[in-house]
């Protein structure tokens, strides 16, 4: 902060200006001492007219030594106040606001009012209030909003443009709680419900806006016959029968026949009903788009395996290997082709036929059953017990803006700091020179 700024320069240590009282006092004392001593003299009339005028001027005359001493003090005080060029107008602050999209964020603040304000609303409101203050003081804040979910929102806005509406809508599928440590960087702001991680990031200068929140009892698991509800920290876990099937599976076209049979067996065993469409299904297994016929060409057969089994795959249409939008490769061929990928509620296969090794059939079935188990999405009302737990007290911690400045601004600021240091050195040198001059004049007796 530079509360004193004149002609584009500010004082880093404005308190040093208090020392101005010293030269000011010397100046006043000097004038007081210059005040003439009145002496009674009957012959006072014999002093001339012009002399009086000169004497009046002389009253404001400073001796050389005293003048240079004052100059030395003033320069020294200015140097001690560490002058720096003032911060430029409209400096741009770049902030990245990471918004937690885990299910707990969409729980109500008040457990008895399920339709009331949610944790995400509370946390974003606190963030918005702080962001509104950023444009004051001659700087401009640019906010990059990032929803922490696969393929989530990534939008850059000015701070005055408010919070993107997409952030208050829950994601299509359950998103695990973020690992905040990987996002800690200058200018980062975390919007979440629980600030328990904040102490670990104390020194990182990131901002944290956490809503806090009480325990929210409710469904924590879903089975074939109903829900399992949690009554809170001291409450029981109770089954709740459902009027209609809660879990459904949909097997899309293009899924090889053996795999389709395997999915049906897996669903029967768990009481999961088949679904007519992907929209209502907790799990959709789909084949490759535009699948090729098995044996359509040489070199189509790909070998792959995992969990103790191996198989040959025909009509392969390799899937993307990346992790965009929450996809994760589950089965990769010997040549590096992605044959199966999955995400919550979805499994996609990239082959037209599969021939598992007969000796490894059991391992093949168990491995696939585990894949389907892991990616079966529960109903929207089901939130894990961990997510429903209390989020603690709210927190509003602003990030350090110094590190969030635009790199160009930072570069200019460094240049200004260098100019300031040079000015400080010059002032100190000037003070020393003026002090020496004053001392020399004093020794010479002209002061």
């Amino acid at each position: 902060m530079m509360p004193l700024a004149i002609l584009g320069w500010g004082l880093t240590v404005p308190g040093a200006m208090v020392a101005l009282a010293l030269p000011l006092g010397i100046l006043l004392l000097s004038f007081m001492r210059r005040r003439p001593q009145a002496v009674a003299l009957g012959t006072a009339r014999f002093f001339g007219e012009g002399v009086e005028a000169e004497a009046s001027r002389r009253r404001w005359h400073l001796s050389g030594a005293r003048f240079w001493a004052l100059v030395a003090l003033l320069l020294g005080i200015l140097a001690a106040s560490r002058p720096r060029p003032s911060a430029e107008e409209n400096a741009v602050v770049l902030l990245t606001v990471y918004v937690d999209r885990s299910p707990s964020m969409f729980l109500p603040m008040d457990p008895v009012d399920p339709d009331g304000e949610r944790r995400v609303d509370r946390a974003l409101a606190a963030t918005a209030i702080w962001l509104e203050t950023l444009d004051e003081g001659g700087q401009r804040a640019v906010i990059r909003w990032r929803a922490l979910e696969p393929g989530g929102l990534d939008l850059t806005l000015d701070s005055g443009e408010g919070v993107p509406g997409a952030l208050v809508r829950p994601p299509a599928r359950a998103i695990p709680a973020p690992r905040w440590g990987q996002w800690a960087a200058p200018g980062a702001v975390f919007v979440t419900d629980s600030a328990q991680f904040a102490s670990a990031l104390e020194g990182s200068a990131v901002g944290v806006f956490a809503s806090g929140g009480a325990t929210v009892p409710g469904p924590v698991s879903a089975g074939s016959s109903g829900l399992l509800t949690w009554g809170g920290a001291d409450g029981p876990l109770e089954p709740l029968d459902a009027a209609e099937p809660l879990l459904q599976v949909h097997v899309g076209d293009g899924v090889p026949g053996p795999l389709r049979s395997l999915v049906r067996l897996w669903a029967d065993e768990r009481g999961i009903q088949p679904s007519g469409g992907a929209e209502s299904a907790g799990l959709t297994v789909r084949g490759p788009a535009g699948a090729r016929e098995p044996g359509a060409g040489p070199g189509d057969e790909i070998s792959a395996g995992r969990d103790g089994w191996s198989a040959s795959f025909d009509g392969a249409t390799p899937l993307p290997l990346g992790t965009q939008e929450g996809w994760r490769p589950w089965l990769v061929g010997d040549g590096g082709e992605c044959l199966v990928r999955a995400r919550s509620g979805e499994v996609e296969v990239g082959f037209a036929a599969v021939r598992p090794s007969p000796s490894m059939m059991e391992a093949f079935v168990v491995s696939w059953a585990r894949l389907l188990d892991e990616h079966l999405a529960p109903p929207a009302a089901v939130v894990s017990m961990e997510e429903r737990s209390a989020a603690g007290a709210p927190m509003s911690r602003e990030p350090a803006l110094e590190g969030a400045l635009d790199p160009e601004v930072l570069s200019r600021r460094a240049a200004r700091a260098a100019r300031g240091r040079r000015a400080e050195l010059l002032l100190a040198a000037g003070a020393a020179a003026a002090g020496l001059l004053a001392f020399a004049l004093r020794l010479r007796g002209s002061g």
Partner: protein, 306 residues
């Protein structure tokens, strides 16, 4: 008053009063004896030269130590066994008018000008009384001081000491007030000798000279303080940083940015002032003597009384 501004806030007078020190009476006695004897010698010489012994004899008076033995009446001593001197008309009738300036400007200096003038007045009174003169002592200043004091005998010297010892410098009334006062002027015209003791800063020579006439003799004793003679030599203040204030007119002046030049200008003005008075005095046969208040009266008074 050119180049001098007036305003309030007067500095205190360094020596407004008069203090006669313990040895002052002894000094007065010795001085009066010595000077009266010298005056008598001169008187006798003048009578012999100009008038011979035929001056009118008016009587006797007791002999005082130090008097000219040529005026001693040996026959009376033999007959009465007591010393007497012969008294002639010229001195027996002489009245002295001693006027002392006690205005504010006389409080300047250490010792003060009023102190020096008072000492000179007492010494002159002592000499006059020793010579048998009738003396009227007047002071300017406050109303109490303005009342004339009539002294005819040596014993009256104590009254003169008391009056002058109680004098305080103050006010604007100086010698000008005394010489322009109708009563004082009327009385002074009957006196043979007029003594004016002061700084003469407030009075015009023409006003003083109007008191002359006939065979009346006038003695102008002009006293200035050491710092008035030389502001640079005064120990009380640095001329370069001092503002000099006339305690009567409240006029102010300074030496200016160039103290040497300012002091030269001051000295020239002061010299012209003193020279004017001495010139006027010489032109009219008036005794004039200017001195510093630091000077002992023994050093200047013989010349003044001559």
């Amino acid at each position: 008053m050119v180049g001098v501004r007036s305003s309030g806030g007067l500095p205190p007078l360094p020596s407004p009063g008069v203090v006669f020190k313990g040895d002052f009476l002894a000094r007065i006695g010795a001085f009066a004896t010595q000077l009266a004897a010298a005056r008598e010698r001169e008187e006798v010489g003048r009578r012999r030269t100009l008038q011979g012994d035929g001056q009118e004899f008016v009587g006797y008076r007791p002999y005082r130590p130090g008097e000219d033995l040529r005026r001693f009446d040996w026959e009376l001593l033999a007959r009465l066994d007591r010393p007497y001197v012969r008294v002639h008309r010229s001195e027996a009738r002489e009245d002295w008018w001693i006027a002392v300036d006690a205005s504010a400007s006389m409080g300047v200096g250490e010792p003060g000008k009023l102190q020096s003038a008072a000492e000179a007045a007492v010494a002159s009174t002592a000499v006059g009384l020793r010579l048998g003169a009738r003396i009227t002592l007047v002071l300017s200043g406050s109303a109490g001081q303005a009342r004339p004091l009539s002294l005819t005998r040596t014993e009256d010297l104590g009254r003169a000491l008391a009056t002058l010892g109680a004098a305080q410098a103050g006010g604007q009334g100086g010698l000008e007030e005394l010489v322009s006062h109708q009563g004082h002027r009327a009385y002074a015209r009957r006196c043979g000798r007029l003594f004016l003791l002061g700084d003469f800063l407030d009075v015009d020579p023409a006003d003083v000279l109007r008191m002359l006439g006939g065979r009346r003799r006038m003695h102008l004793g002009q006293v200035l303080a050491p710092e008035e003679w030389d502001p640079a030599a005064g120990a009380r203040a640095d001329p370069g940083t001092s503002e000099y204030v006339d305690p009567e007119s409240t006029a102010r002046g300074r030496v200016g940015a160039d103290p040497r030049r300012g002091l030269e200008r001051y000295e020239q003005s002061l010299d012209a002032f003193i020279t004017r008075w001495s010139g006027v005095a010489a032109a009219h046969g008036v005794s004039h003597r200017a001195w510093s208040s630091a000077d002992a009266f023994e050093s200047f008074l013989p010349d003044l009384l001559r």
